[in-house]
Subunit: 438 residues, 2 copies
């Protein structure tokens, strides 16, 4: 028979089972946390009408889209979960309760140039809170507590949620007469960490920002201190711009309430350089960094927007949301060996029968499963050594051996695969013991 | 602004949150059961190279494929989870431990004609056990116990796993000199439930099956009795065909071991008319019916195959597997109002603050979440009535009200939304109580 080489497209993650277990644990941790805050699940199609999906998109995004015809339809694969959310809320407006709090964890598609660590199919894990006409600012303070709980649960301690407010930047630029250039200015100051102050100054100069404005912008970026000190210094700048003042008020209010939401002082920080995209966000913006691995970039970002679905409806739907790019995050953490896993196997127990009649081992498996213990029986006729090797490779923590002698005496042999410890134990006692341990 | 009508493609399921919660509960029940038997997770890409994905496909399947070019690649969306599994096992053969037990729950795509209850994007929930060269027959007896546990956990009692062995049918046809026609004969007898005996006879006659063979086939199909009686009667037919005899032996062995796997007598049945597809399965075949809703068709099907990945590798990889078409199953059950849900909300508790300073309600929420209780705070400034309406629409079981008076006395008001019962309760006591209840 002519054979086809079995291969997977580059830019598409396909894991071996032991890695998939780790990936799924991360995904579950994120999902469980979203649920703990009462976010509702959503699962929109991967394929949408291009007309609907691309109502807004343009430029870079549009080039990356997987787009094709089928039947009479011009179709596209979703490239994020925000556009499908917009469509969904506009479409189902009358059937939703507001504030509409939803999470969605799903694959999205972008035909980027392949590059190590960049994916064309990747999971996004999004939460958004959408108001009907109005959404109180306190919601902006709740999201950091979700981010905090997620990264804590993933086993990280040293991470920082960096927070800013777009109104502060917009107001500053307006006060400096740079409103028209604000998109370019933002793009330049966003890079200060990478390119340094001097290059930022030079680039601002190149696009025609006046010397005095550059000085003001640099002074602004260089405001140092704790979050509270920064806010205080911003106030002392004495900039009499309405948007700027509103931005400071909002930021101060959000910071105050993040504390009430128990986000520890060491896990957040006002960062006046964070802008997040260029025209979508209008207020609070967040980025999250693992401090020992700044090179990963922001691992959880988002912010407040004025209007979710203006391309589909005249209803005003303000919201706030954050997103985790799970596939890339997993890839990087896995590469750095940083994934903390409680468990590296699915099964808690592998039962190895050393008998022809499998009634006793199968009955034991059924009883263990009824107790919620994940139990596998090795059902193929192999040498004992091969069976142990299997348990070892799958990193199953406990192996139970049942042979003729064991059946006669109603006993089995249990081996802790980590410590190598073995003991003989009565079947009834075993079920009780494992129920407690697992 | 010119607006696009927000719409979803027909044949693509997109649920409202309360339905999505039910859908996800079903999905989780299936996944949890798969894990309880130690199946390993797998998550392959939705997009594959057409050359790889369609190495085998042809005819009907090929027409339904979502296929398109991107860059220099001819791509297709997966139409099932079996072909990606074949590719995966062939590709990763050296890194897998056999028997390789995997589950995969994911969306697949078929551009079928739209029709009520038929979907173009739908979830399949698959398990397979793949052997390296050889896979013991007892594995065929384990899968029905997985099916049994799933439908029990989904709240069904009256369902039947119908089981047969393809060798019996193949051997019978061979002994009747109808081996060449077996595909057509199978297709005809598969329909006996719908079209009746007479039409089956007429159709067999039409394709040139001799009178005597037709009589034998009908006698065979009409074998009645319990599973054991059917097996006994098959033996008494005295057909001296090797394949036929092998088929009976296998079926008898699988039935015997299903009993050891604790599948109750009333939930399985030998059904000699079940064939499942035409050339893929080579031994045991399963279908599962909800007896009060036979019109749903089989809700979980599968069987034994000789060789998983012959299009990709010369390794012989026999296996056995079953699949649940979750999207269609959910759709039908939901339509019939048959979904048993423990819980129709994500949140266990909604905290309604009636105060300006939200410290106390937010602190309570944080404490409840730390105890694993899914807690939402109503964070928008609305009338109490609107807040209760929200809890009601989301079917959140408990509402906790915190106002000035409550804060002064360290008490809150808890309302059971089902019974309408209200009580005042100390905050500390509340946390303990809810931890126990939920």
């Amino acid at each position: 028979m002519a054979r086809t080489e079995p291969r997977t497209l580059s830019g598409f993650m396909e894991l071996l089972p032991n890695e998939q277990i780790l990936f799924n644990q991360m995904k579950e941790t994120i999902e469980d946390t979203y649920k703990k805050f009462g976010f509702l699940p959503l699962d929109t199609p991967v394929i949408e009408l291009s007309e609907v999906l691309l109502a807004k998109a343009g430029g870079e995004t549009e080039k990356q889209i997987y787009r094709f015809d089928k039947g009479n339809h011009d179709l596209s694969l979703r490239f994020d979960l925000t556009v499908p959310l917009s469509k969904y809320v506009a479409k189902n407006y009358g059937n939703l309760s507001f504030p509409f709090r939803r999470y969605q964890i799903g694959k999205v598609y972008r035909g980027e140039r392949t590059q190590k660590g960049r994916f064309r199919e990747f999971y996004q894990c999004d939460i958004d809170i959408i108001g009907d006409g109005k959404l109180d600012l306190i919601n902006d303070a709740e999201l950091p507590s979700v981010i905090y709980m997620i990264f804590k649960s993933l086993g990280f301690n040293d991470f920082t949620i960096r927070i800013n407010n777009r109104k502060i930047l917009n107001g500053l630029f307006e006060s400096l007469g740079q409103k028209e250039k604000s998109v370019e200015v933002l793009r330049i100051i966003d890079k200060i960490d990478k390119i340094g102050k001097e290059v930022v100054q030079a680039e601002l100069n190149k696009i025609g920002v006046l010397e005095k404005a550059i000085t003001n912008i640099i002074n602004f970026i260089e405001i140092e201190g704790t979050s509270d000190e920064k806010i205080e210094k911003l106030k002392q700048l004495g900039i009499q711009n309405e948007i700027f003042i509103k931005g400071i008020e909002e930021l101060e209010y959000v910071i105050k309430n993040m504390r009430i939401f128990s986000v520890p002082e060491e896990n957040f920080k006002v960062d006046l350089t964070i802008a997040r995209g260029l025209d979508y966000y209008t207020g609070t913006v967040y980025e999250t960094f693992l401090n020992d691995y700044r090179e990963l970039g922001s691992v959880c970002s988002g912010g407040r927007y004025e209007n979710l679905a203006e391309y589909y409806t005249d209803k005003k739907l303000p919201g706030v949301g954050v997103s985790i790019g799970l596939t890339r995050l997993f890839y990087k953490l896995n590469e750095l060996n940083l994934i903390k896993a409680d468990k590296k196997s699915v099964s808690d127990v592998l039962i190895i029968p050393m008998v022809k009649d499998l009634s006793v081992p199968i009955n034991l498996a059924t009883k263990l499963r009824e107790k919620g213990i994940k139990t596998e029986i090795y059902l193929n006729d192999k040498k004992l050594k091969a069976k142990f090797k299997y348990a070892d490779k799958l990193e199953i923590p406990y192996v139970i051996i049942i042979g003729e002698d064991e059946i006669k005496s109603n006993v089995c042999k249990m081996k802790n695969m980590k410590t190598g410890e073995e003991e003989n134990i009565m079947l009834e006692e075993l079920i009780k013991r494992l129920s407690k341990m697992i």
